[in-house]
Amino acid sequence: MKSKFKAMFMTACLLPVFYGSAALAAETGTALKNDTIRKEPYADAKSAGSFTRGESLEILSKQGAWLQVKTKKSTGWVRLLSVKRGASSAGSQSAGVLAAASGRAGTGQVVSTTGVRGLSEQELKAAKFNESEIKTMESYTLSADDGRNFADAGKLKPIAFANLKAAKGDTK
């Protein structure tokens, strides 16, 4: 009885600490792919377990491009893009549902839900060329020098980085 009370007390104390330590505390996530969970936020760190695509998890914290996550079996670090924030949407299944709902009836919903000038298929088809708007847009055109000055003002430093290529074996 005494130890149980102690445990509850500890939990009560720890909760606010958890919430305060990272904005991500208690956020739920979903594994986007099968991946290894690492003991440290490094690619060559030792394995602490693994998760499979679609598995629910808890996001504890973020460090650079790594997320500290907790699954039912293990806790550790995975790459940022192995996890989708928010509850599971069952991955491709949701995409299927979307596709089914995206016919003309689906796009018609754009108008009714937003009530704002829309970009539905029909509205785009009915659109008329707007000369004054395109001229206004073109009036904002900046030179490469303008861009560089803007970058300098924000202390943006260009770096060398090769264009990413599709991963091997990636389906087109």
């Binding site: 986007l32 491009a65 088809k125 708007e133 303008d146």
Partner: protein, 333 residues
């Protein structure tokens, strides 16, 4: 037939005034849908375009009762003597748009038509400071691309949808709804980078070229012209399904990779685009604001996975990228 033939030259501004240009406009708009890319998909575009083409063709063919209208959208040659002569007349009156190998000027003129039509559906947000800010970020990111020489221009348009669009030649737009979801400059750079990637790789232009060459093959232009285009026969070989789904999807994934690469080279925190994809992925699928985006693009989850696979460990040594939330322009409403 005359109207359709005119449609093959949508880049010429004079055409806009032509009384039969309506079909051309809808064709362009349809192209917009597809290409427009922004975060959107081109697969539906191909189907839409086919539908529009068929509609336009049926309209025209209604004047020649000997031809069944249903053949219009297919690859059966439907040339008539009358249309050939009209075509010749049209060709001699104005220089032909070079669909096989458009010049940079032609590409820009085509993009201008498409962008102008989009602005007809959703005008620019009347906030000069916002537009200038977006042009500054976009211009700097575009300078990291393979086509820094284009006259890049950017615009935020009045729509609460979440979407972004690119048109050939460097016309790029994003909706106010999408801008509202952004929280820093690195995210904006990633979104604009994706669109810049579409323009650099001429994704939309290529779809339009294919469609035009298909028109040629279907007999909307003279036989002589068709024979000059080796690509036309290839397009016919795949029937009306000119853009395979997988090909269109791959264009989106490619734009994602390029967009992230450009923003990274520009000095931004590399994960801006992926953060936006996370946000979009959390949007309720039944929310009308993402209907078009989700219809035209691979699901954000799939895009995140593909980007993650492409990144691997390549960003492990990239540090000190900036997010610049401090100077991120806040919408007034």
């Amino acid at each position: 037939m005359n109207g359709l033939i005119k449609n093959t030259n949508p880049a010429r501004s004079s055409l806009r005034k032509h009384s039969k240009i309506k079909a051309g406009n809808s064709l362009l708009i349809s192209a917009l849908l597809a290409s427009v890319l922004g975060l959107a998909g081109m697969q539906s575009f191909a189907f839409d375009l086919k539908g529009v083409l068929k509609e336009a063709a049926e309209k025209e063919l209604g004047k020649s009762p000997e031809t069944p209208a249903t053949d219009a959208g297919q690859t059966q040659p439907t040339t008539t003597g009358a249309s050939s002569s009209e075509n010749t007349a049209a060709k001699t009156s104005e220089p032909e748009f070079n669909w096989k190998n458009p010049s940079k000027e032609e590409e820009i003129a085509l993009g201008r038509e498409i962008a102008g039509n989009l602005l007809g559906a959703a005008p620019l947000v009347k906030d000069t400071a916002l537009q200038k800010y977006v042009n500054s970020v976009g211009r700097w990111v575009a300078s990291q691309s393979e086509r820094p020489d284009l006259p890049w221009r950017f615009g935020v348009i009045e729509s609460e949808d979440l979407n972004a669009f690119a048109a050939p030649g460097g016309y790029i737009m994003l909706t106010k709804g999408l801008y509202r979801k952004l929280s820093n400059e690195a995210q904006l750079a990633g979104v604009l980078g994706h669109e810049i990637g579409h323009v650099v790789k001429k994704h939309q232009l290529k779809v339009l070229q294919k469609q035009q060459l298909l028109n040629i093959g279907a007999g909307f232009l003279s036989d002589k012209y068709a024979k000059d285009n080796k690509l036309a026969s290839k397009a016919i070989g795949t029937g009306a399904e000119i853009s395979a789904r997988s090909l269109d999807k791959s264009a989106e994934y490619e734009a994602d990779r390029l967009g992230l690469s450009y923003a990274t080279r520009a000095g931004y925190e590399p994960y801006g685009l992926t953060e936006v994809l996370q946000t979009i992925g959390q949007t309720n699928k039944n929310d009308g604001s993402v209907a078009l985006l989700f219809k035209t693009h691979p699901h954000p989850d799939e895009r995140l996975v593909a980007l993650g696979d492409a990144i691997g460990n390549k960003l492990d040594n990239v540090k000190n990228g900036k997010t610049l939330e401090n100077r991120f322009y806040q919408l007034k409403n």
